[in-house]
Protein backbone atom coordinates (compact mmCIF):
# COMPACT_ATOMS: atom_id res chain seq x y z
CA UNK A 1 0.00 0.00 0.00
CA UNK A 2 2.85 2.36 -0.51
CA UNK A 3 3.72 3.22 -4.07
CA UNK A 4 1.48 5.64 -5.91
CA UNK A 5 0.93 3.01 -8.52
CA UNK A 6 -0.50 0.67 -5.92
CA UNK A 7 -2.61 3.39 -4.36
CA UNK A 8 -4.15 4.21 -7.71
CA UNK A 9 -4.77 0.64 -8.80
CA UNK A 10 -6.28 -0.13 -5.41
CA UNK A 11 -8.61 2.83 -5.56
CA UNK A 12 -9.77 2.14 -9.08
CA UNK A 13 -9.93 -1.63 -8.96
CA UNK A 14 -8.41 -3.76 -6.21
CA UNK A 15 -10.14 -2.06 -3.31
CA UNK A 16 -12.87 -0.25 -5.22
CA UNK A 17 -15.13 1.11 -2.51
CA UNK A 18 -18.34 0.35 -4.35
CA UNK A 19 -17.44 -3.09 -5.74
CA UNK A 20 -15.16 -4.56 -3.09
CA UNK A 21 -15.76 -2.69 0.13
CA UNK A 22 -19.44 -2.17 -0.79
CA UNK A 23 -19.46 1.22 0.93
CA UNK A 24 -21.60 4.17 0.01
CA UNK A 25 -24.43 2.01 -1.24
CA UNK A 26 -27.13 4.47 -0.26
CA UNK A 27 -26.13 7.18 -2.75
CA UNK A 28 -24.83 4.59 -5.20
CA UNK A 29 -28.11 2.74 -5.55
CA UNK A 30 -30.36 5.77 -5.28
CA UNK A 31 -28.69 8.08 -7.79
CA UNK A 32 -27.50 5.66 -10.43
CA UNK A 33 -30.66 5.82 -12.56
CA UNK A 34 -29.00 7.77 -15.34
CA UNK A 35 -25.40 8.14 -16.45
CA UNK A 36 -25.34 11.89 -15.84
CA UNK A 37 -26.81 11.62 -12.35
CA UNK A 38 -24.21 9.01 -11.49
CA UNK A 39 -21.41 11.12 -12.90
CA UNK A 40 -22.57 14.22 -11.02
CA UNK A 41 -22.74 12.54 -7.66
CA UNK A 42 -19.51 10.69 -8.33
CA UNK A 43 -17.61 13.89 -9.07
CA UNK A 44 -19.03 15.61 -5.99
CA UNK A 45 -18.00 12.63 -3.89
CA UNK A 46 -14.53 12.65 -5.45
CA UNK A 47 -14.08 16.30 -4.63
CA UNK A 48 -15.09 15.71 -1.02
CA UNK A 49 -12.80 12.69 -0.77
CA UNK A 50 -9.86 14.64 -2.13
CA UNK A 51 -10.43 17.53 0.26
CA UNK A 52 -11.17 15.41 3.30
CA UNK A 53 -8.28 12.97 2.76
CA UNK A 54 -5.79 15.79 2.28
CA UNK A 55 -6.89 17.75 5.31
CA UNK A 56 -7.20 14.70 7.54
CA UNK A 57 -3.65 13.79 6.59
CA UNK A 58 -2.44 17.34 7.29
CA UNK A 59 -3.91 17.32 10.78
CA UNK A 60 -3.08 13.71 11.61
CA UNK A 61 -0.37 14.64 14.13
CA UNK A 62 -2.43 17.32 15.83
CA UNK A 63 -5.57 15.35 16.48
CA UNK A 64 -5.55 13.16 19.55
CA UNK A 65 -6.79 9.60 19.07
CA UNK A 66 -9.79 10.04 21.41
CA UNK A 67 -11.32 12.81 19.35
CA UNK A 68 -10.11 11.76 15.92
CA UNK A 69 -13.44 10.42 14.66
CA UNK A 70 -15.51 13.47 15.68
CA UNK A 71 -12.88 15.73 14.13
CA UNK A 72 -12.93 13.73 10.88
CA UNK A 73 -16.70 13.92 10.80
CA UNK A 74 -16.54 17.67 11.35
CA UNK A 75 -14.04 18.11 8.55
CA UNK A 76 -16.04 15.97 6.15
CA UNK A 77 -19.36 17.58 7.02
CA UNK A 78 -17.93 21.07 6.50
CA UNK A 79 -16.53 20.15 3.10
CA UNK A 80 -19.76 18.52 2.03
CA UNK A 81 -21.74 21.61 2.96
CA UNK A 82 -19.28 23.81 1.10
CA UNK A 83 -19.50 21.57 -1.98
CA UNK A 84 -23.29 21.58 -1.75
CA UNK A 85 -23.44 25.37 -1.64
CA UNK A 86 -21.00 25.70 -4.52
CA UNK A 87 -23.00 23.27 -6.58
CA UNK A 88 -26.17 25.19 -5.86
CA UNK A 89 -24.42 28.33 -7.03
CA UNK A 90 -22.67 27.04 -10.15
CA UNK A 91 -24.57 23.91 -11.25
CA UNK A 92 -28.07 24.79 -10.17
CA UNK A 93 -29.95 22.48 -12.56
CA UNK A 94 -27.86 19.51 -11.60
CA UNK A 95 -28.31 20.46 -7.98
CA UNK A 96 -32.06 20.28 -8.41
CA UNK A 97 -31.71 16.62 -9.38
CA UNK A 98 -28.97 15.55 -6.99
CA UNK A 99 -29.86 17.99 -4.25
CA UNK A 100 -31.16 15.66 -1.60
CA UNK A 101 -28.28 13.24 -2.12
CA UNK A 102 -25.46 15.72 -1.65
CA UNK A 103 -25.84 15.96 2.14
CA UNK A 104 -25.87 12.16 2.11
CA UNK A 105 -22.23 12.23 1.02
CA UNK A 106 -21.52 12.83 4.70
CA UNK A 107 -22.94 9.43 5.49
CA UNK A 108 -20.96 7.75 2.73
CA UNK A 109 -18.84 5.40 4.82
CA UNK A 110 -16.22 5.32 2.11
CA UNK A 111 -15.16 8.83 3.04
CA UNK A 112 -14.70 8.42 6.78
CA UNK A 113 -13.35 4.96 6.00
CA UNK A 114 -10.54 6.39 3.87
CA UNK A 115 -9.87 9.12 6.40
CA UNK A 116 -9.47 6.55 9.16
CA UNK A 117 -7.80 3.72 7.26
CA UNK A 118 -5.48 5.66 5.00
CA UNK A 119 -5.30 9.43 5.33
CA UNK A 120 -4.65 9.43 9.07
CA UNK A 121 -1.62 7.18 8.54
CA UNK A 122 -0.04 8.64 5.41
CA UNK A 123 1.44 11.89 4.16
CA UNK A 124 -0.78 14.49 2.44
CA UNK A 125 0.44 13.76 -1.08
CA UNK A 126 -0.36 10.08 -0.78
CA UNK A 127 -3.63 10.80 0.98
CA UNK A 128 -4.64 13.15 -1.84
CA UNK A 129 -3.81 10.57 -4.50
CA UNK A 130 -5.71 7.96 -2.54
CA UNK A 131 -8.74 10.23 -2.23
CA UNK A 132 -8.66 10.96 -5.93
CA UNK A 133 -8.23 7.32 -6.91
CA UNK A 134 -10.93 6.07 -4.56
CA UNK A 135 -13.24 8.84 -5.76
CA UNK A 136 -12.67 8.10 -9.43
CA UNK A 137 -13.17 4.41 -8.79
CA UNK A 138 -16.48 5.19 -7.11
CA UNK A 139 -17.45 7.58 -9.93
CA UNK A 140 -16.70 4.96 -12.58
CA UNK A 141 -19.00 2.46 -10.90
CA UNK A 142 -21.72 5.09 -10.54
CA UNK A 143 -21.35 6.06 -14.18
CA UNK A 144 -21.31 2.50 -15.54
CA UNK A 145 -24.24 1.47 -13.36
CA UNK A 146 -26.13 4.65 -14.26
CA UNK A 147 -25.43 4.24 -17.96
CA UNK A 148 -26.55 0.62 -18.07
CA UNK A 149 -29.71 1.31 -16.06
CA UNK A 150 -30.53 4.25 -18.28
CA UNK A 151 -29.87 2.26 -21.44
CA UNK A 152 -31.90 -0.76 -20.38
CA UNK A 153 -34.55 1.17 -18.53
CA UNK A 154 -35.41 3.96 -20.93
CA UNK A 155 -33.36 3.28 -24.03
CA UNK A 156 -31.25 6.42 -23.85
CA UNK A 157 -27.71 7.27 -22.92
CA UNK A 158 -26.39 10.56 -21.55
CA UNK A 159 -29.81 12.17 -21.44
CA UNK A 160 -29.80 15.58 -19.74
CA UNK A 161 -26.07 15.92 -20.29
CA UNK A 162 -26.67 19.66 -20.71
CA UNK A 163 -27.33 19.95 -16.98
CA UNK A 164 -23.68 19.28 -16.46
CA UNK A 165 -21.83 20.27 -19.60
CA UNK A 166 -23.89 23.20 -20.81
CA UNK A 167 -26.22 23.69 -23.77
CA UNK A 168 -23.77 22.23 -26.32
CA UNK A 169 -24.21 18.85 -24.68
CA UNK A 170 -27.91 18.70 -25.46
CA UNK A 171 -27.22 16.62 -28.58
CA UNK A 172 -25.06 14.09 -26.78
CA UNK A 173 -28.10 12.05 -25.89
CA UNK A 174 -28.18 8.73 -27.66
CA UNK A 175 -31.65 7.34 -28.19
CA UNK A 176 -32.37 3.80 -29.25
CA UNK A 177 -35.21 4.11 -31.74
CA UNK A 178 -38.26 2.05 -31.02
CA UNK A 179 -36.99 0.75 -27.68
CA UNK A 180 -39.14 1.84 -24.79
CA UNK A 181 -36.96 0.23 -22.17
CA UNK A 182 -37.50 -2.29 -19.45
CA UNK A 183 -38.89 -0.36 -16.51
CA UNK A 184 -37.33 -2.69 -13.96
CA UNK A 185 -33.87 -1.29 -14.57
CA UNK A 186 -34.90 2.21 -13.46
CA UNK A 187 -36.72 1.01 -10.35
CA UNK A 188 -34.79 0.29 -7.14
CA UNK A 189 -34.50 -3.48 -7.76
CA UNK A 190 -32.73 -2.63 -11.00
CA UNK A 191 -30.03 -0.88 -9.01
CA UNK A 192 -29.37 -4.00 -6.94
CA UNK A 193 -29.42 -6.29 -9.96
CA UNK A 194 -27.14 -3.96 -11.87
CA UNK A 195 -24.64 -3.57 -9.03
CA UNK A 196 -24.68 -7.33 -8.48
CA UNK A 197 -23.90 -7.94 -12.14
CA UNK A 198 -21.03 -5.46 -12.11
CA UNK A 199 -19.55 -7.07 -8.99
CA UNK A 200 -19.89 -10.50 -10.61
CA UNK A 201 -18.17 -9.23 -13.74
CA UNK A 202 -15.31 -7.84 -11.67
CA UNK A 203 -14.89 -11.16 -9.88
CA UNK A 204 -14.83 -13.03 -13.18
CA UNK A 205 -12.10 -10.71 -14.49
CA UNK A 206 -10.11 -11.06 -11.26
CA UNK A 207 -10.30 -14.85 -11.40
CA UNK A 208 -9.26 -14.90 -15.00
CA UNK A 209 -6.31 -12.65 -14.25
CA UNK A 210 -5.25 -14.84 -11.37
CA UNK A 211 -5.35 -17.89 -13.61
CA UNK A 212 -3.32 -16.12 -16.25
CA UNK A 213 -0.81 -15.05 -13.63
CA UNK A 214 -0.55 -18.61 -12.32
CA UNK A 215 0.17 -19.90 -15.81
CA UNK A 216 2.95 -17.42 -16.46
CA UNK A 217 6.34 -18.74 -15.47
CA UNK A 218 7.56 -15.32 -14.40
CA UNK A 219 5.27 -14.59 -11.53
CA UNK A 220 4.63 -11.03 -10.64
CA UNK A 221 2.52 -10.07 -7.68
CA UNK A 222 -1.01 -11.10 -8.54
CA UNK A 223 -3.54 -8.29 -8.18
CA UNK A 224 -4.34 -8.48 -4.55
CA UNK A 225 -7.72 -7.99 -3.07
CA UNK A 226 -7.17 -6.25 0.15
CA UNK A 227 -10.11 -6.22 2.48
CA UNK A 228 -11.89 -2.89 2.92
Amino acid sequence: MNSYREIISNGLWGNNQALVALLGLCPLLAVSNTAINGLGLGLATTLVLLLSNTSVSLIRHVVRPEVRLPVFVLVIASFVTAVELSMKAYFFDLYKILGIFIPLIVTNCAIIGRAEAFASKNNPAKAAVDGLAIGIGFTLVLFVLGASRELIGQGTLLSQAHLMFGEAARDWTIQIEGFKGALLAILPPGAFLGLGSIIALKNVIDHWQQKQAAKEPVIEAAPQESPG
Binding site: E66, V71, L74, V75, T81, A82, L85, S86, F92
Partner: protein, 234 residues
Protein backbone atom coordinates in the same frame (compact mmCIF):
# COMPACT_ATOMS: atom_id res chain seq x y z
CA UNK B 1 -3.07 14.43 34.05
CA UNK B 2 -6.32 12.89 32.86
CA UNK B 3 -8.01 16.28 33.11
CA UNK B 4 -5.28 17.83 31.02
CA UNK B 5 -5.83 15.26 28.29
CA UNK B 6 -9.55 15.77 28.29
CA UNK B 7 -9.08 19.50 28.13
CA UNK B 8 -6.63 19.23 25.23
CA UNK B 9 -8.97 16.93 23.32
CA UNK B 10 -11.85 19.29 23.93
CA UNK B 11 -9.85 22.24 22.71
CA UNK B 12 -8.80 20.43 19.56
CA UNK B 13 -12.36 19.43 18.85
CA UNK B 14 -13.52 22.98 19.50
CA UNK B 15 -10.82 24.37 17.25
CA UNK B 16 -11.90 22.20 14.35
CA UNK B 17 -15.51 23.05 15.04
CA UNK B 18 -14.67 26.73 14.60
CA UNK B 19 -12.62 25.99 11.51
CA UNK B 20 -15.49 24.04 9.97
CA UNK B 21 -17.97 26.78 10.81
CA UNK B 22 -15.68 29.35 9.19
CA UNK B 23 -15.41 27.29 6.02
CA UNK B 24 -19.17 26.84 5.78
CA UNK B 25 -20.05 30.44 6.55
CA UNK B 26 -17.37 31.68 4.17
CA UNK B 27 -18.73 29.57 1.33
CA UNK B 28 -22.25 30.60 2.21
CA UNK B 29 -21.48 34.30 2.01
CA UNK B 30 -19.62 33.77 -1.27
CA UNK B 31 -22.45 31.87 -2.91
CA UNK B 32 -25.52 33.41 -1.28
CA UNK B 33 -26.29 35.99 -3.97
CA UNK B 34 -25.68 33.57 -6.81
CA UNK B 35 -27.94 30.98 -5.23
CA UNK B 36 -30.72 33.51 -4.65
CA UNK B 37 -30.35 34.63 -8.24
CA UNK B 38 -30.47 31.02 -9.49
CA UNK B 39 -33.60 30.22 -7.53
CA UNK B 40 -35.30 33.39 -8.66
CA UNK B 41 -34.42 32.74 -12.29
CA UNK B 42 -35.52 29.12 -12.09
CA UNK B 43 -38.92 30.14 -10.76
CA UNK B 44 -39.23 33.01 -13.21
CA UNK B 45 -38.35 30.79 -16.16
CA UNK B 46 -41.04 28.36 -15.14
CA UNK B 47 -43.57 31.18 -14.96
CA UNK B 48 -42.53 32.68 -18.28
CA UNK B 49 -42.81 29.29 -19.90
CA UNK B 50 -46.49 29.36 -19.00
CA UNK B 51 -47.13 33.05 -19.51
CA UNK B 52 -44.70 34.60 -22.01
CA UNK B 53 -42.91 37.67 -20.74
CA UNK B 54 -44.37 39.71 -23.61
CA UNK B 55 -47.89 39.22 -22.30
CA UNK B 56 -47.36 40.92 -18.97
CA UNK B 57 -45.78 44.21 -18.00
CA UNK B 58 -45.15 43.69 -14.30
CA UNK B 59 -42.74 41.55 -12.32
CA UNK B 60 -44.29 38.18 -11.48
CA UNK B 61 -42.20 37.78 -8.38
CA UNK B 62 -42.59 41.26 -6.95
CA UNK B 63 -45.82 40.79 -5.02
CA UNK B 64 -46.72 37.12 -4.74
CA UNK B 65 -49.89 36.37 -2.81
CA UNK B 66 -50.32 33.63 -0.27
CA UNK B 67 -53.60 31.80 -0.67
CA UNK B 68 -55.42 29.63 1.82
CA UNK B 69 -57.69 27.53 -0.32
CA UNK B 70 -56.97 23.92 0.50
CA UNK B 71 -60.37 22.94 -0.87
CA UNK B 72 -59.37 24.06 -4.35
CA UNK B 73 -55.57 24.09 -4.39
CA UNK B 74 -54.90 20.99 -2.33
CA UNK B 75 -53.21 22.61 0.65
CA UNK B 76 -53.28 25.92 2.48
CA UNK B 77 -50.53 28.47 2.29
CA UNK B 78 -49.78 28.26 -1.43
CA UNK B 79 -48.34 31.00 -3.58
CA UNK B 80 -49.99 32.71 -6.51
CA UNK B 81 -48.14 34.91 -9.00
CA UNK B 82 -50.10 37.66 -10.69
CA UNK B 83 -49.33 39.05 -14.12
CA UNK B 84 -50.86 42.31 -15.30
CA UNK B 85 -51.02 44.12 -18.63
CA UNK B 86 -51.75 47.86 -18.52
CA UNK B 87 -53.32 47.57 -15.12
CA UNK B 88 -55.61 44.73 -16.11
CA UNK B 89 -55.38 41.18 -14.85
CA UNK B 90 -53.49 39.21 -17.50
CA UNK B 91 -52.77 35.94 -15.75
CA UNK B 92 -52.64 34.20 -12.42
CA UNK B 93 -50.27 31.32 -11.87
CA UNK B 94 -51.41 29.14 -8.98
CA UNK B 95 -49.33 26.69 -7.09
CA UNK B 96 -51.51 23.66 -6.54
CA UNK B 97 -50.79 20.45 -4.71
CA UNK B 98 -52.39 17.13 -5.40
CA UNK B 99 -52.26 15.28 -2.10
CA UNK B 100 -53.40 11.97 -3.58
CA UNK B 101 -50.99 11.19 -6.38
CA UNK B 102 -50.15 7.53 -6.91
CA UNK B 103 -46.96 7.90 -4.87
CA UNK B 104 -47.26 10.93 -2.69
CA UNK B 105 -48.13 14.55 -3.36
CA UNK B 106 -47.71 16.19 -6.76
CA UNK B 107 -46.85 19.86 -6.93
CA UNK B 108 -47.85 21.80 -10.03
CA UNK B 109 -48.25 25.26 -11.47
CA UNK B 110 -51.56 26.16 -13.12
CA UNK B 111 -51.60 29.30 -15.24
CA UNK B 112 -54.92 30.90 -16.06
CA UNK B 113 -55.35 34.00 -18.22
CA UNK B 114 -57.64 36.92 -17.36
CA UNK B 115 -60.64 35.31 -19.03
CA UNK B 116 -60.36 31.99 -17.23
CA UNK B 117 -58.66 30.04 -20.02
CA UNK B 118 -55.74 27.79 -19.15
CA UNK B 119 -52.38 29.07 -20.34
CA UNK B 120 -50.82 25.84 -19.29
CA UNK B 121 -50.01 23.39 -16.54
CA UNK B 122 -46.57 22.24 -15.40
CA UNK B 123 -45.63 19.59 -12.89
CA UNK B 124 -43.02 20.94 -10.49
CA UNK B 125 -42.32 17.88 -8.40
CA UNK B 126 -43.74 14.41 -7.98
CA UNK B 127 -42.70 10.91 -7.10
CA UNK B 128 -44.78 8.91 -9.56
CA UNK B 129 -43.54 5.63 -10.99
CA UNK B 130 -40.73 6.16 -13.50
CA UNK B 131 -41.83 5.07 -16.96
CA UNK B 132 -45.53 5.17 -16.12
CA UNK B 133 -46.80 8.09 -14.08
CA UNK B 134 -43.83 10.31 -14.86
CA UNK B 135 -45.20 11.04 -18.34
CA UNK B 136 -46.83 14.00 -16.64
CA UNK B 137 -43.44 15.74 -16.93
CA UNK B 138 -43.16 17.80 -20.06
CA UNK B 139 -39.65 16.43 -20.57
CA UNK B 140 -41.05 12.95 -20.95
CA UNK B 141 -44.29 13.48 -22.82
CA UNK B 142 -46.55 16.16 -24.27
CA UNK B 143 -49.49 15.06 -22.20
CA UNK B 144 -49.51 18.11 -19.97
CA UNK B 145 -49.82 20.39 -23.01
CA UNK B 146 -53.30 18.94 -23.51
CA UNK B 147 -54.54 21.45 -20.95
CA UNK B 148 -53.53 24.49 -23.00
CA UNK B 149 -56.52 26.56 -24.05
CA UNK B 150 -58.98 24.57 -21.98
CA UNK B 151 -61.44 26.26 -19.64
CA UNK B 152 -64.51 25.45 -17.58
CA UNK B 153 -66.69 25.77 -20.68
CA UNK B 154 -64.29 23.99 -23.01
CA UNK B 155 -64.89 21.18 -22.45
CA UNK B 156 -68.03 21.34 -20.34
CA UNK B 157 -68.21 19.73 -16.94
CA UNK B 158 -68.93 16.06 -17.69
CA UNK B 159 -65.96 15.99 -20.06
CA UNK B 160 -63.44 17.16 -17.45
CA UNK B 161 -62.28 13.61 -16.87
CA UNK B 162 -59.85 11.12 -18.32
CA UNK B 163 -61.11 9.14 -21.30
CA UNK B 164 -61.45 6.00 -19.23
CA UNK B 165 -64.06 7.83 -17.12
CA UNK B 166 -65.84 9.13 -20.20
CA UNK B 167 -64.01 12.43 -20.42
CA UNK B 168 -61.78 14.22 -22.87
CA UNK B 169 -58.30 13.83 -21.42
CA UNK B 170 -55.91 11.00 -22.21
CA UNK B 171 -54.67 8.66 -19.57
CA UNK B 172 -51.49 6.59 -19.87
CA UNK B 173 -51.37 2.89 -20.51
CA UNK B 174 -50.98 1.33 -17.11
CA UNK B 175 -51.37 4.58 -15.21
CA UNK B 176 -54.78 6.15 -14.77
CA UNK B 177 -54.61 7.33 -11.19
CA UNK B 178 -52.05 10.05 -11.82
CA UNK B 179 -53.75 11.71 -14.84
CA UNK B 180 -57.14 11.41 -13.16
CA UNK B 181 -55.89 13.21 -10.07
CA UNK B 182 -54.28 15.96 -12.15
CA UNK B 183 -57.31 16.55 -14.38
CA UNK B 184 -59.44 16.81 -11.29
CA UNK B 185 -57.09 19.25 -9.58
CA UNK B 186 -56.68 21.47 -12.63
CA UNK B 187 -60.43 21.75 -12.84
CA UNK B 188 -60.61 22.71 -9.17
CA UNK B 189 -58.02 25.41 -9.75
CA UNK B 190 -60.17 26.75 -12.60
CA UNK B 191 -63.23 26.75 -10.38
CA UNK B 192 -61.26 28.66 -7.81
CA UNK B 193 -60.18 31.18 -10.41
CA UNK B 194 -63.78 31.62 -11.50
CA UNK B 195 -64.94 32.34 -7.98
CA UNK B 196 -62.08 34.34 -6.66
CA UNK B 197 -60.07 35.99 -9.43
CA UNK B 198 -61.50 39.45 -8.84
CA UNK B 199 -60.87 39.16 -5.14
CA UNK B 200 -57.32 37.93 -5.77
CA UNK B 201 -56.64 40.77 -8.18
CA UNK B 202 -57.93 43.30 -5.66
CA UNK B 203 -55.65 41.83 -3.01
CA UNK B 204 -52.78 42.04 -5.45
CA UNK B 205 -53.45 45.69 -6.28
CA UNK B 206 -53.71 46.51 -2.59
CA UNK B 207 -50.51 44.67 -1.82
CA UNK B 208 -48.61 46.32 -4.65
CA UNK B 209 -49.79 49.73 -3.43
CA UNK B 210 -48.77 48.98 0.12
CA UNK B 211 -45.39 47.78 -0.98
CA UNK B 212 -44.96 50.51 -3.57
CA UNK B 213 -42.71 52.83 -1.50
CA UNK B 214 -40.04 50.17 -1.42
CA UNK B 215 -40.48 49.39 -5.09
CA UNK B 216 -36.81 48.50 -5.38
CA UNK B 217 -36.20 46.61 -2.19
CA UNK B 218 -32.75 45.63 -1.09
CA UNK B 219 -31.41 42.51 -2.67
CA UNK B 220 -31.54 40.60 0.56
CA UNK B 221 -35.27 41.32 0.95
CA UNK B 222 -36.10 39.99 -2.46
CA UNK B 223 -33.99 36.96 -1.67
CA UNK B 224 -35.77 36.23 1.56
CA UNK B 225 -39.06 36.45 -0.27
CA UNK B 226 -37.91 34.08 -2.96
CA UNK B 227 -36.44 31.69 -0.50
CA UNK B 228 -39.69 31.56 1.39
CA UNK B 229 -41.43 30.78 -1.89
CA UNK B 230 -39.01 28.04 -2.75
CA UNK B 231 -39.40 26.54 0.68
CA UNK B 232 -43.14 26.31 0.42
CA UNK B 233 -42.74 24.76 -2.98
CA UNK B 234 -40.49 21.94 -2.02
Amino acid sequence: MAYKNILASGLILGFFGILGALLVSGTESQTRDIIIHNERMALLNQLYELVPQSEIDNDFLQHPLTLNAAEFLGIDDTQAYIGTQQGELAAIVFEATIPNGYAGPILMLVAVDGKGTLKGVRIVSHSETPGLGDKIELERSDWVLGFNGKSLTNPVEPQWKVKKDGGLFDQFTGATITPRAIVNSVRKALLYFNQEHQEIFKRYLKKSLEEAPKETPKKADVGADIEANIETRT
